[in-house]
């Protein structure tokens, strides 16, 4: 709860600080806000919070909040160059991001569908704006339109699902719903279809097949700075919400929906990776890879009792941010993969960060990506062995995609022009690299 408050206040201040046309000031405020929120989440319970009375409504598990804050921090740092470029909007960027982060935290671990829905909307609406924030470009406009309509359509679906569940159980409290379902009501059509509609909504949020369509276009239209936030925080929040809701509420109907989930996993992974192969635009490639990774995240549902999700999402988020950060270093609007040729040679840090990020995404030990994948599969394999098998085959295709990108970046150019990195970019790349190796700690 405190984290949310801190973030909200920081967001407000940032919003107004933005008017002073001093980007550095607002980024500092935002950063402090994020760090503060993280600390608050970390020391939660060790001090008496003024808002402790609300804690019952917003039970926030520290780790996820810290992850969300950290990822957001990296995202805004990496995107700072972009914010600076039009300084009358810096404040808006940061403010909106922080606000939507509040929503993310709110929705990540709901215990009440009502709050969950509100969190969802708080998360989404600012992003609609962020996607369309540069008013000049038609791509941005199109992305915003598509995201907005599909998004609100999805929230209508979720809402419908919530309503059905309410109809079946007569409550929005997850605990009550669960206890009601536990006595067999989950077999009533309303509950079942309701759960499925809810699942559909989540699938949309994390962008897995068949509700993935917004992904590529929106990622493509949005700017790198926004993409970094969108591709990571939204997914993390969504998948955590999904795991918590299904883990708590629908664990009795596990055998009812698990097959569907496996289906979604397999289809998403194959579709995502295969389609990524033919992409010529970097952001679209990231989009499709994120579809596949969304499929992988769904493995968290296979074992509802202990879903080792954290490592995987963290690894995924860090690697993605590293990649997009590098892409924003290249910084041209055509966003063609061709620009990646030989980029690793233009700056050793970029090279190292890329190698680590891409190998991590393809799940090669001893990098974070491997341990994430391993811990996911570790709990999943006993329940859905064949899905796991197919997923691994798919991830070979994925490795194909990432390695192609890597080879492109490693190709030795005839003439190398050094790229200068700004401070915050260096920070981001260093942090991501160190983190992807540091995962060894979890062995």
């Amino acid at each position: 709860m405190d984290s949310i408050i801190i973030l909200f206040i920081a967001g407000l201040i940032g919003l107004f600080a933005g008017m002073s046309k001093k980007p550095v000031a607002s980024i500092l405020i935002a950063s402090f806000g994020l760090i503060g929120a993280g600390l608050a989440a970390y020391y939660r319970g060790s001090y008496t919070s003024p808002f402790s009375s609300y804690a019952a409504y917003v039970p926030t598990q520290g780790l996820v909040i810290i992850l969300l804050c950290a990822v957001t921090l990296l995202a805004i740092l990496a995107g700072f160059k972009r914010y600076k470029s039009d300084d009358e909007h810096t404040g808006d960027y940061l403010g909106l991001i922080l606000f939507s982060l509040c929503g993310a935290i709110l929705m990540a671990q709901p215990n009440d569908l009502m709050l969950f829905f509100i969190g969802l909307e708080i998360l989404s609406i600012p992003i609609y704006v962020l996607v369309g924030i540069d008013k000049g470009s038609s791509a941005s406009a199109e992305a915003a339109v598509k995201y907005f309509f599909t998004g609100s359509f999805a929230s209508a679906i979720i809402l419908f699902g919530i309503a059905l569940l309410y109809g079946a159980t007569g409550s929005f409290q997850l605990v009550e719903i669960q206890s009601n379902l536990a006595i067999g009501i989950w077999q009533s059509p309303m509950a079942m279809i309701g759960s499925l509609f809810l699942l559909a909504g989540f699938t949309f949020k994390i962008g897995a097949v068949p509700f993935h369509f917004w992904g590529p276009d929106v990622y493509d239209g949005a700017s790198n700075a926004v993409l970094m936030y969108m591709a990571t925080v939204v997914k993390i929040a969504g998948v955590y919400a999904l795991v918590n809701v299904f883990g708590q509420v629908f664990r009795d109907s596990y055998f009812f929906w698990i097959d569907l989930v496996s289906l979604l996993i397999v289809v998403s992974m194959f579709y995502g990776y295969i389609t990524a192969w033919k992409q010529t635009s970097f952001r679209r490639l990231i989009a499709y890879s994120s579809i596949a990774n969304a499929g992988l995240m769904l493995f968290a549902l296979a074992d509802i009792h202990n879903s080792n999700l954290f490592l995987f999402v963290a690894a995924y988020a860090l690697a993605t941010i590293a990649l997009v950060a590098v892409n924003s270093v290249i910084n041209d609007d055509s966003d063609a993969l061709a620009n990646w040729e030989g980029i690793a040679w233009k700056n050793p840090l970029i090279g190292i960060a890329l190698v680590l990020a891409l190998f991590s995404l393809s799940g090669i030990p001893p990098l974070a990506g491997f341990f994430g994948k391993f811990s996911l599969l570790w709990s999943a394999v006993p329940h859905v062995p064949y899905t796991a098998m197919l997923a691994l085959i798919a991830s070979v295709i994925g490795a194909f995609v990432y390695l192609r990108l890597l080879l492109l970046a490693l190709k030795k150019p005839s003439v190398t022009v050094r790229i200068k990195l700004s401070l915050e970019q260096i920070i981001v790349l260093v942090v991501t690299s160190v983190a992807s190796i540091g995962a060894i700690y979890f062995i």
Partner: protein, 466 residues
């Protein structure tokens, strides 16, 4: 302990070494590691077992005599690789040094880890550096072949990952000792599937017959050092895994199920590789197929999982490392001096470079497994084991003697004998000569007294129950 971490430290240092000193650095670092391990082995009782524990959850180390053998082999191989490329420009690149040393670390991990997951992690860890080495220093015109190599092996290792997870779930154990005593046969068909996962990974790595398609192309286009690393030590990971982990653990239902399929594939590889090698025009490709043939034999014999045969198999493993370093070094020398590997364009080198001619000849005979060389002992007993398993398998395996003679003699005579096609051929550099000498001595020593090695490793090989 530092034995294992040493290469890692060196590989990190290597990034900061100025390229003028890189070659010396590489030589020194590998030399130090080798010396250290040699000293260590002197203080090492074959029957003892050193346990090393960092308090990590999934990775622990334990060095037994087999592990020590492989450590020595690894360090020796890396030292020789650096030494043999001393004149090449490759070792002047500190990227290469760093990656190679990192790979050495990974290999040492594979050979010493005590947990099944650790085995997998280090197994994969070696893949990363070799991939970069091949990409940066190889002559892959289009990334396709390289990707094929990488993804083929990746597919294999992912199958292994699945098997590892399955195994850990099925037995609730992860350490070697615990897995040994765990009752795998109770799992029935599951155990067959699990072993299948491992075997697939190994079959790609060794490689066995239908999964070898990456080999020839990769070997041919890789830099000589890379080829040496691949064939001399990296493929041995698979044989080691078979010998140390899979066969003892899955001894019983699963092994009985897979025995004949694998032996069949191995023998197909033996004949197939040899037959193809006969007509190869590129000397490196030829050696690649030869290696396919040799390793098929070892794999097939290992599947018998017979106590004595396993000991001999270790001899043959070492021997194959010796041979492959030597032969690929020879190929590399020819390529470096003359810029071509086509047998048809070569000839009469022995006349202008007598020393090279002599040492190449020695290595050729070692690989022909003539008497007084390790290969003679190895092949004799491996084929004997296959023969006693079934007369036909023994017969098929023994054809490698004839076929081997055909392609090896061609590979030697075509470039070395006949009218000289080249006016000048710079004879061996001292470093290359040292390498050849070391290799030959090792091969002959093992050929005369294999007992010392077999006795040494015998302690860590488990007597099969059946």
């Amino acid at each position: 302990m530092a034995l294992i971490l040493l290469p890692l430290v060196f590989s990190l240092l290597a990034w900061f070494v100025p390229s003028a000193f890189t070659r010396l650095f590489g030589l020194l670092s590998t030399g130090i590691t080798l010396a250290w391990s040699m000293v260590a082995v002197c203080y090492f009782q074959p029957e003892e077992q050193i346990l090393i524990d960092f308090g990590l959850r999934f990775v622990r180390f334990s060095i037994d005599s087999l592990g020590f053998t492989m450590i020595l082999l690894t360090n020796a191989v890396f030292f020789l690789v650096f030494l043999s490329n001393f004149t090449g420009k490759l070792v002047n690149d500190n990227k290469f040094a760093a990656l190679a040393l990192l790979m050495q670390f990974g290999l040492l991990g594979v050979f010493t880890t005590n947990t099944i997951l650790g085995f997998y992690i280090f197994w994969e860890l070696t893949l990363l550096p070799i991939f970069l080495i091949l990409y940066w220093f190889g002559t892959f015109d289009k990334p396709r072949a390289l990707l094929q190599f990488f993804l083929y092996t990746l597919l294999g290792s992912l199958a292994m990952l699945l098997a590892v997870i399955g195994l850990m779930h099925a037995t609730n154990q992860q350490t070697y000792e615990a897995l040994l005593v765990a009752d795998i046969n109770a799992l029935g068909n599951t155990s067959i599937w699990l072993m299948g996962g491992f075997l697939f990974a190994f079959a790609v790595k060794i490689p066995l017959f239908p999964f070898h398609t990456w080999q020839a192309e990769t070997y041919t286009k890789a830099p000589v050092a890379g080829t040496m690393l691949l064939s001399a030590i990296m493929l041995k990971m698979a044989l080691f895994g078979l010998l140390k982990w899979v066969l003892p653990i899955f001894d019983g239902v699963a092994t009985d199920f897979w025995r004949w399929p694998i032996i069949t594939l191995g023998l197909i590889g033996v004949v197939y590789g040899a037959v193809i090698a006969i007509r190869q025009s590129d000397i490196k490709t030829l050696f690649a197929y030869a290696s396919l043939s040799h390793l098929g034999l070892i794999a097939a014999a290992l599947m018998l999982n017979d106590y004595d045969t396993n000991q001999i198999a270790v001899v043959q493993i070492v021997n194959h490392s010796i041979v492959s370093i030597g032969l690929f070094l020879a190929a590399g020398i020819i390529e470096q001096r003359l810029g071509t590997r086509e047998l048809s364009e070569l000839g009469g080198i022995a006349k202008v470079a007598p020393r090279f001619g002599f040492w190449f000849a020695v290595l050729t005979f070692v690989s022909l497994s003539v008497p007084f060389t390790a290969g003679f002992i190895g092949e004799f007993f491996l084929i004997k084991a296959l023969f006693s398993a079934h007369a036909l398998t023994g017969f098929i395996a023994s054809t490698t003697l004839v076929l081997g003679a055909i392609y090896m003699l061609r590979a030697y005579q075509a470039p070395m004998f006949g009218p000289s096609k080249f006016s000048s051929f710079q004879d061996l550099h001292w470093s290359e000569m040292t390498v050849f000498a070391i290799l030959s001595i090792a091969a002959i020593y093992l050929g005369l007294a294999p007992q010392c090695l077999t006795d040494f490793v015998a302690h860590s090989l488990t007597q099969p129950t059946h």
